[in-house]
C-alpha cells in the first residue's frame, strides 16, 4: 500500500540498487513526516540506551511501607511509584530496552524466515512455490493475536519463547512481497543471461536478487518492527510476558492487575503507553516514507 500524503517526496524512478543507507535516510529526512519519524526513533534509541545508564533501575529497591505504594509523582519519584513502591520513571527507562530488543529480534527472525520463503518460492517456482505459498496463505488467514496467545500459552512465558512466537507469526507478509519481487526479477534479461552462463542458483540469488529485494522489504520490515513491539506489549499485558524482567507491556500488566486504573494512578499507566506509542509511531512514519520512496510504482497484489 502506498500512502501519499501532503509533504510527501515527489516520486522519482528508483535505481536498481538503492545501495547507500545514507542516501535513503536523507530522502526520508526530506519528507516532512519521515523526518518526524526519524526524530522519534532517535529519541527513543537515546532514551533506551542512555536512560538506564544515567538512571539505573533497581528492582529490589522497593518501598518501605504501604504508604510508598502507588504514590503520585514527587521530587523523589518523578513519575511516582508502582505497586511495590519502586520508581516508575526508572522502570520506564529500563522497560524501553526490553520492549525494543524483543521487537527488533523478533523482526529479524521474521525477516529471515519470510525472505527465505519468498525467495525460495519465487525463484524455484513449481511445486515448491505452490507449497510454500499455500503455507504462507494459511498463516495469513490465522488470526494473529489468538495464534500468539495460544502459542505462548502452550510453550511458556520466557522472553525467548515470546520472541520466537512473535517472529514466527509475522513472516508471511514479507514472504509475499519478496516472492512477487523475485518473480518479476526472474524474468529480467540479465538473470536469464547469467543463468545461461552457468552461474549457480545460490550465486544468482546472492548477487543479483538479494540486492534488489532487500530495499523492498526494508520498508515492510520497519512496519513489522512496529507490529512486533505492539505484539509484545499486548501479550505482556494479557499476562503472557516474562514476569521477571521489566518491559512496557509487563508494567501495564501489573498496573492493571494492582488496580492502578481504579486508583487513578495515571503516572503508572501513561508513561509505558506513551513510550509504546512514540516508538511505534516513529517506525510507522519512517516506514511509510520509506515505502513511498522505494516503491513508488508498486501496487498491492
Amino acid at each position: 500500500m502506498t500512502v501519499d500524503w501532503p509533504g510527501a517526496v515527489v516520486t522519482r524512478p528508483v535505481p536498481a540498487r538503492v545501495g547507500r543507507l545514507r542516501e535513503t535516510l536523507a530522502l526520508v529526512w526530506q519528507d516532512r513526516i519521515g523526518r518526524i519519524g526519524l526524530i522519534l526513533l532517535a529519541f527513543t534509541a537515546v532514551v533506551a540506551i542512555v536512560g538506564p545508564i544515567v538512571f539505573p533501575f533497581d528492582p529490589t529497591l522497593v518501598g518501605k511501607s504501604a504508604a510508598d505504594i502507588l504514590k503520585p509523582p514527587s521530587a523523589a519519584h518523578w513519575l511516582g511509584t508502582d505497586e511495590l513502591g519502586r520508581d516508575v520513571f526508572r522502570s520506564t527507562l529500563e522497560g524501553a530496552q526490553l520492549s525494543l530488543i524483543i521487537g527488533l529480534v523478533a523482526t529479524a527472525i521474521s525477516i529471515v524466515v519470510g525472505a527465505s520463503v519468498g525467495i525460495a518460492a519465487g525463484y524455484r517456482l513449481g511445486l515448491t512455490d505452490r507449497l510454500l505459498m499455500r503455507i504462507t496463505d494459511f498463516f495469513l488467514v490465522l488470526p494473529t493475536l489468538p495464534l500468539i496467545i495460544v502459542l505462548a500459552a502452550l510453550f511458556g512465558q520466557s522472553t525467548v519463547i515470546l520472541v520466537l512466537v512473535i517472529g514466527l507469526t509475522s513472516w508471511p507478509s514479507t514472504a509475499r512481497i519478496v516472492r512477487s519481487q523475485v518473480l518479476s526479477l526472474r524474468e529480467r534479461q540479465f538473470i536469464t543471461r547469467v543463468r545461461s552462463l552457468g552461474a549457480s542458483d545460490v550465486r544468482i540469488v546472492r548477487h543479483h536478487i538479494l540486492g534488489n529485494v532487500l530495499p523492498l522489504i526494508f520498508a515492510n520490515t520497519v512496519l513489522i518492527i512496529a507490529g512486533s513491539i505492539l505484539a509484545e506489549a499486548t501479550l505482556a499485558f494479557l499476562g503472557l510476558g516474562d514476569p521477571v524482567h521489566v518491559s512496557w507491556g509487563t508494567m501495564l500488566h501489573f498496573a492493571f492487575d494492582s488496580g492502578a486504573t481504579g486508583r487513578g494512578a495515571w503516572w503508572y499507566i501513561l508513561p509505558p503507553g506513551i513510550g509504546i506509542v512514540l516508538v511505534v509511531l516513529g517506525f510507522i512514519l519512517a516506514g511509510h516514507t520509506l515505502d513511498r520512496i522505494l516503491n513508488p510504482r508498486l501496487r498491492e497484489r
Partner: protein
Amino acid sequence: MFRIGYLARKLAIGALTLLAVATFNFILFRVLPGNPIQLQARAGNLSAEAVARLRELYGLDQPITTQYLIYLRDVFTGQFGTSITFQRPVADILAERLLNTLILLAAATILVVLLGIGLGIVAAARRGSRVDSATVVAALVFWSLPTFWTGLILVFVFGVYLHMLPVSGVSTPGLGLTSPIASFVDLVRHLILPTITLALVDIGQFVLITRSSLVDVLTEDYILTAKAKGLSRRQVVLRHGVRNALLPVVTTTALYVGLTIGGAIQVETVFSWPGMGRLMYDAVLRRDYPILEASFFIFAVVVVVANLVSDLLYQVLDPRVREA
C-alpha cells in the same frame, strides 16, 4: 452475478482452510510433546478412573491417525470438549459468548467504516490542504495506539474521572428493564466506550486506505475528462471517484472483521465485555486448553468467512475481474 463454479471453488478452499486449521490445532494441542492432554494424563495424581476416562475420551492409546480422525469428527460436529474451569461443554460456553463479540465487532465495523471512509474522502478531496495533513497525522497516530492501552485511558477518563459511561459489562444488572427500548439504550450505553476503543486504531488505517485509493482514482484519465467536461469538484469526487474507490474499501471492510479480532480480545478484557475475546483471556489465565483450542478455531472460522465474503463482494462489485 458470478458463476456457480467460482462460488463453489471459493467455498471449497474455505473448507480446506478450516480443515488445515483443525489439523494445526491437533498438532499443537495433541501431538507436540508437552501438550495439555499428555500433561493431564501424566499428572501423577489422577485416579485410575480419571486416566481411563481420558484415554477413552481422546483415544490416547490409539494410533495417531485414529486420534486425528476422532478429533476431526469432534470439531466438525461442534464437540469441543469440556472446559476445565467451568466443567461444562465448551460449545455451550462459546455459543453464549459469540453473540456478544459479534455485536461488538458489528458496532465497531460500522463506526470504522463511516468515520474512516468519511474522513478519508474529505482528506482526499482536499488533498494537500491543512485539513488533509491534520487528518493523515491523526490517522497515523491512531494507528500506533495499543488497543488495550487506549481502553485503559478511556476507562480512566470516562469511568473514573467523569463517571459518565459504564466501563464494564453488557448491561446494568438488576435494572429489571421490561421495555425493549430501555434495554436497547442500556446496551448502547455499555457499547460506547468499547466500540470507540476498538474502532480508534483501525479508523486510522481506513482513513489512509480510503484516501490513497481515492487519490489514485482521482488522477486517472476519465476523472480528468470529467473535470474537463465541467463537472464540479464535488460531482467528480462523488460520482466517479468514490464509486471506483469503493471497491478496495468494501473488500477491506469485509476483511476488517477478521483483522480486528486481536483488538476485540483486548477490548473485551479491559471492559469486561462478556464475549469470546474475554473468554480467551480468562482461559489463558487458567490454562483452560479446551477453551483455548475451541476459541482459536472459531476465530479462524470468522476470518475465513470474512475473507470469503470479501472475495465474493469483490466479484459482485467488479465483474471485470475473473479468477485467474
